[in-house]
């Protein structure tokens, strides 16, 4: 903040006129940010401060803010564009629940959804998971994994209800497999599982549902805890993974752009016999 102002003052005194200053501070734009509908450009701090001023004036929950320039209703601030990805600052969300900004761990999970399906299929064997009845052992890390995954996908902090809903469906499915004979093929069981989870998750995850189910299967098949699972995944993504650091300072992310579809694997390692 301080530095930004010094830069501002320095810029004015040196009489170098910027052609496209921020409409709020009138200085050169720091951390390019755009409103999501009209795409007018501001400094990140300037426009976020303004949305906070506007929302604090209303007793009810505002979900949009008028653009200071054109008065169009906007729902989020787009920022942190690094050439391949960007972040959203949602107007009501950040004001209402004290600012849920995706952590680095969430961002990495989202990044996974932009890779080819089967991206880590050669490491985590889903078919073996079903064939060898591994699903009969409860996975104690699943709850935390689910929570983070849903948070990342719907970009909301409070996902308890959705998480428990999906977890409930999974648990009752596993229990049912306990009771009944193991007459059905692993493939049929997997299919039934996928269909059940899809139905449970679709109202919340929409188009991301299928991939979400696949990712969950991969996590279950890995048999790893979250830390170990992340390490494997991140290595594959090309992230230098020093462990899961959660930075919530809404500033710049050090997220390095990775090229999706970098690795394409043969499907045979994951196929049925």
């Amino acid at each position: 903040m301080k530095q930004e102002e010094e830069e501002l003052i320095h810029n004015t005194t040196s009489s170098s006129e910027d052609s496209n200053p921020c409409p709020i501070c009138l200085g050169p734009i720091v951390q390019d940010s755009y409103l999501d509908k009209c795409l007018h450009k501001f400094c990140y701090n300037c426009i976020v401060h303004w949305t906070k001023v506007v929302t604090s004036k209303h007793s009810y929950k505002l979900s949009s803010v008028k653009c200071p320039l054109c008065k169009m209703e906007n729902f989020s601030v787009i920022h942190g564009f690094d050439g391949s990805s960007f972040q959203h600052y949602y107007i009501n969300q950040n004001f209402e629940n004290g600012g849920f900004i995706l952590t680095k761990a969430h961002k990495y999970r989202l990044q996974c959804y932009y890779t080819e399906p089967g991206f880590v299929g050669d490491i985590f064997k889903v078919s073996r998971y079903w064939k060898s009845f591994k699903y009969l052992q409860p996975n104690c890390w699943l709850q935390s994994w689910l929570k983070r995954e849903i948070q990342a996908l719907i970009q909301e902090e409070d996902v308890e209800v959705i998480m428990h809903h999906i977890l409930g469906v999974i648990n009752s499915f596993m229990r049912r497999n306990d009771q009944y004979s193991r007459s059905r093929t692993p493939e049929a069981k997997e299919e039934e599982f996928q269909a059940l989870i899809s139905d449970a998750a679709r109202p919340f995850l929409a188009a991301r549902t299928e991939r979400f189910v696949n990712e969950m299967e991969l996590f279950l098949a890995s048999g790893l805890n979250i830390e170990a699972y992340d390490a494997v995944y991140k290595q594959r993504l090309g992230w230098s993974a020093p462990g899961v650091t959660s930075e919530t300072t809404g500033g710049l992310s050090e997220q390095r752009p990775i090229i999706p579809y970098l690795y394409i694997f043969d499907e045979d390692s994951d196929g049925t016999d």
């Binding site: 102002e5 004015t12 009489s15 200053p21 009138l26």
Partner: protein, 157 residues
């Protein structure tokens, strides 16, 4: 606090540069306090304020530009949306419709526009508003003209 100073300093620079460009507005900053400004604006033509020069006083809050500046007329003016005694101005952009994209310069332009297009339905000066609402355009014009002559034009001889 610091952000408002930096922004006002920017505006000050801009005003110095634009002085020639907008002959109807002369903005000046207090020598000792960057949060106090005055402006001289020319009454728009084809209005009873034509030929008058009106002085405005700006008090800029520390949260500027997230909060609007307080503006009032120092020169007496007969206008439905200006308080006759205090010079207070009823203008939406100075209250609810404020946007940080406004500058002191553009606020002056908005006030000039308000002088040319009064809103008699939200009056601060009821006498003036009633004249316009009752359709007594001539009565309004002669009152406004008289006060322009008395207060906003150089005394003759």
């Amino acid at each position: 606090m610091q952000a408002s100073r930096a922004r006002l300093f920017k505006e000050y620079k801009e005003v110095q540069r634009e002085k020639v460009a907008d002959p109807d507005i002369q903005l000046a900053c207090d020598d000792t306090n960057i949060f106090k400004w005055t402006a001289l604006i020319k009454g728009p033509s084809e209005t009873p304020y034509e030929g008058g020069v009106f002085q405005l006083a700006f008090a800029v809050p520390e949260q500027y530009p997230l909060q609007p500046p307080q503006v009032r007329f120092l020169t007496k003016i007969f206008h439905p949306n200006v308080h006759f005694k205090t010079g207070e101005i009823c203008l939406d952009i100075l209250k609810n419709a404020w946007s940080p994209a406004w500058t002191l310069q553009s606020v002056c332009r908005a006030i000039i526009a308000l002088m040319a297009h009064p809103e008699p339905d939200s009056p601060l000066n009821c006498d003036s508003g009633n004249l316009l609402r009752s359709g007594d355009i001539r009565g309004f014009h002669s009152m406004a003209r008289m006060y322009t002559r008395l207060a906003a034009m150089p005394k003759k001889g």
